[in-house]
């Protein structure tokens, strides 16, 4: 699974990393129980601070996507809580995306097929 970090983006690196891991879980590229690299190894490979990776892992752990223990490091949770609920923050974000698409003249069907594609696990 390829993690892409955009250095010019306004989104903090730890959040970009967190988002990409979530997308990886959703698309099935990261399977349940799969081991993630250690904080040190991943930071060294990406050339970023260990604190940044640690912060991303901490966030993923809090959100229930991964579990960590001293012996095995970080792993994708076998059972991710299915709340069947979209958070308010995500709703606002979705609303923004739909609005921008409509203003720029994107057809509703085109947007829906894109949603469908991502839903099925497709990536750009």
């Amino acid at each position: 699974m390829i993690v892409r970090i955009d250095e010019l983006s306004d989104i903090p690196i730890y959040l970009q990393l967190r988002n990409q891991i979530v997308m990886g879980i959703s698309s099935g590229e990261l399977e349940a129980g799969e081991k993630l690299p250690t904080v040190r190894d991943l930071a060294l490979e990406m050339g970023i601070n260990t604190m940044t990776v640690s912060k991303a892992y901490q966030l993923l752990k809090t959100e229930g996507y991964i579990m960590t223990d001293r012996k095995n490091g970080a792993r994708i949770r076998n059972e991710i809580k299915k709340e069947a609920y979209i958070s308010d923050a995500n709703k606002t974000e979705l609303k923004r995306i739909v609005s921008e698409a409509r203003i720029s003249g994107v057809e509703k069907q085109e947007l829906l097929s894109l949603v469908e594609k991502y839903w099925e696990g497709g990536r750009d």
Binding site: I2, V3, E7, P37
Partner: protein, 467 residues
């Protein structure tokens, strides 16, 4: 001696230039992953842009060919020079000039490619770094045992040299007891340890991302790292054999010609190893060229396409874009220190060359002033009180002496410093061997072999001392 030295330098320099040329300027730029250090894109292959890139490439490549031919011609001329110091200076200048000369068209080409890329509006919208999360820390090809064995063998060579110097093993060598062989072997062993550490670091380099398929990335990186590991292990063995060779031939059967021959063999082996590495690396690249669906745009971080400078990257060691091994991130604090040290070393090399040149050009002087014998060359090297001289002899057959330098100058017209003379350690030598005569004297338990600028002056000084 000068001819052998020239051959050694030729064997070291010219193949390196050739290897550099083939790495920096591949014959077919369209099949290359990089064009003058700028990542190749399909946009560069099409229409007018394709013609522009082709024109840039052909122009810079032909300039590099001219540099290459000029270097070979100058090298041929340098072999004819007789003066050792002049020859050494010229070789050093040629080395620097040819290495810079062969890289210069590449740097200009890099600048031109970057401007072309900018004019096409490519790669400016995002600065993405790619990491294959599944392969992090998983691709390691270095086996500790394969690295340990040559190091252990090298350590045994050091022990051997130490035992010879401690006279536990009798070798009847001129260096016995001087600890010169132990020192040399220890330095070689330190170099071996550094190579081992560097190999370990390089094995942990960031994995390249060439595809969205993690298996392809894993196989590609494994193949590349295995190639590098194999080369490093070969390098270590060549180095260890060289160490043992120096000890056996130079220390036991001291001969400068044999020493040069060993150095020559060492570099020939290294260059052959390097060629095999480059050939295999090319093979891996061409095997995976069709799988390369992802390109990481790091062009702007490579100054001139050769030096890596990225303040946002916390890594110190970075995989080279071209050629074997790794380089350093110049934006890293340690990288800055290393760059400063390299610049200082280059200045030191030039400074020492000037100093050695002055030493060769300045004649030695032997004077008697106020009951003191003064040996002057650039500065007062030895001041011997005449009353302290215990014995003095004069000889005109300098060829009967075997001088083995421990520290100082050993040039055709100047022997100066600490030497082992006919197996006697700790002798101080200050003479021009071309004169043929010398004064041998003992003062305060130290044996001196002295001479003046000319044979006549040496004889006059001897007579004055005897009186």
């Amino acid at each position: 001696m000068g001819l052998i030295f020239s051959i050694v330098v030729c064997v070291c320099l010219l193949p390196v230039l050739l290897i550099m040329f083939f790495i920096l300027y591949p014959k077919n730029w369209k099949k290359s992953k990089l064009i003058f250090g700028v990542a190749s894109r399909k946009e560069y292959m099409e229409g007018e842009t394709g013609d522009t890139v082709s024109a840039i490439f052909q122009k810079r490549r032909s300039q590099a060919v001219k540099v290459l031919i000029a270097s070979f011609v100058v090298a041929g001329v340098l072999i004819l020079i007789r003066s050792v110091i002049l020859q050494t200076t010229c070789w050093m200048l040629l080395t620097y000039a040819s290495l810079i000369g062969i890289a210069l068209p590449f740097v200009i080409g890099n600048k031109e490619m970057k401007s072309l890329k900018k004019s096409l509006g490519l790669g400016t919208e995002k600065k993405e770094t790619l990491t294959d999360i599944k392969n992090v820390g998983a691709i390691r090809t270095l086996k500790l045992s394969s690295m340990l064995l040559p190091n252990v063998f090298g350590f045994l060579v050091l022990i051997c040299a130490l035992l010879i110097d401690l006279k536990v093993i009798r070798a009847n060598t001129v260096f016995e007891g001087t600890f010169l062989s132990t020192g040399m072997t220890a330095i070689f062993l330190i170099v071996e340890f550094i190579i081992t550490a560097a190999a370990y670091i390089m094995d942990g380099l960031k994995n390249e991302v060439i595809s969205t398929d993690s298996d392809i990335n894993a196989n590609y990186n494994r193949a590349k790292k295995k190639n590098l590991t194999d080369f490093t292990v070969k390098f270590l063995w060549i180095h260890t054999i060289f160490m043992a060779g120096v000890l056996v031939f130079n220390i036991l059967f001291y001969s400068e010609i044999v020493m040069m021959a060993i150095v020559l063999g060492y570099f020939v082996m290294l260059i052959l190893g390097m060629l095999a590495f480059v050939r295999r690396d090319r093979k891996i690249e061409s095997r995976y060229i069709n799988e390369m669906t992802v390109t990481e745009d790091e062009d702007d971080y490579w100054i001139g396409g050769l030096l890596y400078y990225n303040p946002k990257n916390k890594r110190l060691n970075i995989k080279k874009r071209m050629g074997p091994g790794s380089t350093i991130n110049m934006a890293h604090p340690v990288g800055k220190i290393v760059a400063a040290v390299i610049v200082l070393m280059l200045i030191f090399c030039f400074g020492s060359m000037v100093y050695v040149g002055m030493a060769e050009a300045t004649p030695i002087k032997l004077n008697i002033e106020e009951n003191t014998l003064i040996c002057h060359h650039l500065s007062n090297d030895y001041e011997i009180e005449i009353d302290s001289i215990e014995s003095i002899t004069y000889d005109e057959n300098i060829d009967s002496l075997t001088f083995a330098k421990v520290a100082g100058f050993g040039m055709p017209n100047l022997l100066k410093g600490s030497f082992s003379v006919n197996g006697e350690n700790g002798c101080k030598v200050f003479l021009n061997p071309e004169n043929g005569n010398y004064i041998k004297l003992v003062s305060k338990g130290v044996t001196y072999y002295l001479g003046a600028a000319t044979a006549e002056e040496t004889k006059t000084i001897y007579e004055a001392l005897v009186e």
